[in-house]
Symmetry: C2
Subunit: 217 residues, 2 copies
Amino acid sequence: MPATDLPDRAVVDLLGLVAFGELLAFERMAVDARLAPDLRRRAALGEMAAAEIGNYRRLADRLAALGVLPDDAMAPYVEPLQAYHDSTEPRDWAEAVTKAYVGDAITDDFIREIAAALAEPDRQLVLDVLHDSSYADFAVAEIRAAVEADPKVAGRLSMWARRLVGEALSQAGRVAAAERGALTALVAQSGRVDVPGLFGRLTAAHAARMAAAGLNN
Amino acid sequence: MPATDLPDRAVVDLLGLVAFGELLAFERMAVDARLAPDLRRRAALGEMAAAEIGNYRRLADRLAALGVLPDDAMAPYVEPLQAYHDSTEPRDWAEAVTKAYVGDAITDDFIREIAAALAEPDRQLVLDVLHDSSYADFAVAEIRAAVEADPKVAGRLSMWARRLVGEALSQAGRVAAAERGALTALVAQSGRVDVPGLFGRLTAAHAARMAAAGLNN
């Protein structure tokens, strides 16, 4: 099935999922910024958060242009995404930046893969909301500094990252259930996403990021 | 004294004050957004918050260009501004938008008056961080809708607005103490700010805004 014939429902589901993910990431990072040890770092996480709400606006505008209320498109994902964040509240600054680093990157990898199944302009739109690498650089530097200040932190953050991935996977199952099959069908039918290899690529990229930050996978 | 001869200390004090005000307004509005009754409104307050952190960045960059660490310039204001927000935590959505409406507008009025004492490029910079009137329009519409849904809310929000102004004035005294006199001297010496009339203009503008939102002053 050519990309231009893909069902609108799937596009709406994906835009709604990504939009609510951005909105929630914004809120949580803004809250987590208060864990920062100084105002410079606090503002840096706040700016990372602000980029997410800018992306939210683009996605919500696109949903509106498709004749869909953004709230309706996002509604199925409120519970699983909220549950992910509720179950992964960082206790300190190092956990907060690790969460931003791990969560942003896995989300980006997932979106980049799924985007292949979309027609334009939606493909470019979702690729545009991927994160600037400067945010990852900031997070890696903060994680490395925390480990340097106290080497014991490496083990704790490694465990924390595993928990983040575990919780994300657990909620991903509920997200898949929430999207009512259209998105899964889009991806399967597009023939442009290598679904069997997807999981392997996401976890390999995650492992590489852990190593880059000096953590164990 | 011409504006170009004004002491740098005062400019740094003002930029630090406005910068920290923006950073904190960002965080509090992002947190308060969770009180929204739906995702559309939640995102709207989030976007208002994000505009503040964008302004923060411009002010912090200017401080850095002046050879000052933004954290140092902001440090004297952390306690009084934090105390203002701690003492005015909104309990529901109507209180949250009222706080954003009242707080943003009084801050803007104050900055607009003080800007007259600054030389360029700082004058234009602080004028640039004033809020877009679309935010006030949004807040007014939300307040009016809350009052329409339950007329008793008007009295409660009117009292809430008075409390916001009272707490702001109370902390303004501590801000004045924190800025070590340079800013006050700048304003007094510039001859461009009508200090005796300042308080009267701020309160008159506040009263007009309360009326526009259907509240009593």
